[in-house]
């Protein structure tokens, strides 16, 4: 499958460093970034924010039959992570032999995201590691 250079490039900061934004008016954080704060509308004062990468597992599911891009990774786990700063983020939870459970603490690690064809760009990004 293709990884388009332009779309990959635009998301590098977001994917490498978990950069979202926070509304300075009501202190709500967003990931991915929003243009307008859900609470404040026209009064929103959004600023970029790099999240700590620490969070809690809200829910997770084990993928046994993967889409083609993840064919070499199956079985693997994806989850909804509630970041300490508030936003809910979807992401892969790596298998580091620690138990994956709802309410479990996680932090981000830097990994390859998918299996690409030989001539394609490699997509690097955060995944979550159970602590």
């Amino acid at each position: 499958m293709d990884v388009a250079p332009a779309s990959l490039w635009r998301k590098i900061n977001t994917r490498y460093n978990l950069v979202g934004n926070t509304c300075k008016n009501c202190n709500t954080s967003y990931f991915p970034q929003r243009v307008v704060c859900r609470n404040c509308g026209r009064k929103s004062k959004l600023e970029e924010r790099k999240f700590s990468g620490n969070g809690t597992i809200f829910s997770f599911t084990r993928i046994m039959v993967p889409p083609d891009a993840f064919r070499e990774d199956a079985p693997y786990t994806i989850g909804l992570i509630k970041l300490d700063e508030g936003p809910m983020v979807e992401g892969h939870i790596i298998d580091n032999c620690a138990e994956i459970k709802i309410g479990g603490k996680v932090k981000t690690v830097f990994r390859r995201m998918q299996t690409e064809d030989k001539e394609d760009l490699i997509r690097y990004q955060y995944k979550f590691e159970p602590l």
Binding site: Y16, D95, C97, F110, R111, I122
Partner: protein, 345 residues
């Protein structure tokens, strides 16, 4: 200024590899002085390992990553043939765009070559801080002797004129370099080739000993002036033998001898050994480091630890804890899957 080490959690034992090839595990463990080696996860490569180590180094150094003016990444398993690993690392630690960056390759010594380059930039006041990384997911042809030792891991060092932030000072560095065809891999080849018995004497031993002696001559130091010594460790036996030949004791090298537990991490090996030594070194102690890269060359360093080292340990996880806690064993078939040797077409 600071350092960070990352080693994947997976291990494969010598016995497991020996079983597949019907070889004598005990004999190999003794002759190579190796117990097990590290294996990367399916989604890890030299770039992800470099990033993990680099982030730990930034955190240990306690500096703003935007003040890092140079990032060099040494590896012989860069994920791309063309497209630098250094740009991935610099983006993932957040240096900003005003930064010099390049990938280096010199078999197992590209990480220490990067250290020398960063030293030059700092001494000439071109940058405030610079980072060098050595990171590899080393390849060994299935069935080859290298398969028992080719590991995965990396280390990152941040250098700078840090004053009170300095944990150690590099007193002197020299290199001994020659064109020696002891080990090579051409573009497109999956596995390296080597000169068999030719690799040891004219390669590893000649260069390691020559560079170290050159350092002694130019500084007046002798082995007994050092509290610790770290040599490149393609297996557990070579550094032990070279230390003896140079007049170092096994006590001096034991802290920095990590390969028996994780295998040869190539560009990472000498730097991980140095990091493990800095984990335990006390103020005023001296460390000798001599790396080796096939092809061939050795970089030798005389390092003195400053009084800041203990205060700066703080939350730093020692190398020996990184490699001994949270490890998990894989069998040969899982190992091949992690090495991406099995391809589903």
């Amino acid at each position: 200024m600071g350092y960070g080490v990352y080693v994947p959690i997976y291990r494969i034992r010598v016995e497991e590899i020996a079983k597949v090839w019907n070889e004598d595990a005990e004999g190999i463990k003794t002759s190579l002085n190796i117990v097990e080696k590290s294996v990367q996860d399916k989604d890890e490569d030299a770039a992800t390992i470099a990033v993990q180590a680099a982030r730990r180094a930034v955190s240990h150094a306690g500096i703003d990553a935007r003040e890092i003016g140079a990032v060099y990444v040494g590896s012989e398993s860069h994920p791309y043939a063309v497209k630098p690993t250094a740009t991935i690392v610099k983006e993932a630690i957040g240096t900003g765009n005003r930064v010099m960056a390049a990938d280096l390759e010199f078999a197992c010594k590209a990480g220490t070559a990067g250290m020398q380059m960063v030293m030059g930039l700092i001494d000439s006041n071109m940058i405030k801080y610079g980072m060098t990384v050595g990171s590899d997911t080393a390849q060994g042809r299935p069935g080859d002797a290298l398969e028992y030792t080719a590991g995965a891991g990396g280390a990152a060092f941040i250098l700078g004129k840090g004053g009170s932030g300095n944990i150690a000072e590099i007193l002197k560095t020299v290199s001994f370099t020659s064109d020696t065809p002891d080990f090579w891999r051409k573009e497109g080849a999956s596995f390296p080739s080597h000169g068999g018995r030719f690799t040891g004497e004219p390669g590893y031993f000649n260069h390691t000993i020559s560079a170290t002696k050159m350092l002694f001559e130019e500084t007046g130091f002798k082995p007994s002036d050092f509290d610790y010594a770290v040599f490149h460790q393609p297996n557990g036996r070579f550094p032990t033998n070279v230390a003896k030949q140079l007049g170092f004791t096994s006590e001096q090298i034991k802290n920095g001898l990590i390969t028996p537990m994780i295998g040869n991490t190539y560009s990472g090996a000498s730097l991980i050994g140095l990091a493990a030594t800095l984990d335990v070194a006390m103020p005023g102690q001296k460390i000798l480091v001599t790396s080796f890269g096939s092809g061939a060359g050795s970089d030798s360093f005389a390092i003195e630890v400053t009084e800041n080292i203990e205060a700066r340990r703080g939350s730093l996880v020692p190398v020996r804890d990184i490699i001994s806690k949270n490890k998990t064993y894989v069998d040969y078939s899982i190992y091949l899957k992690h090495k991406k040797a099995i391809k589903k077409e």
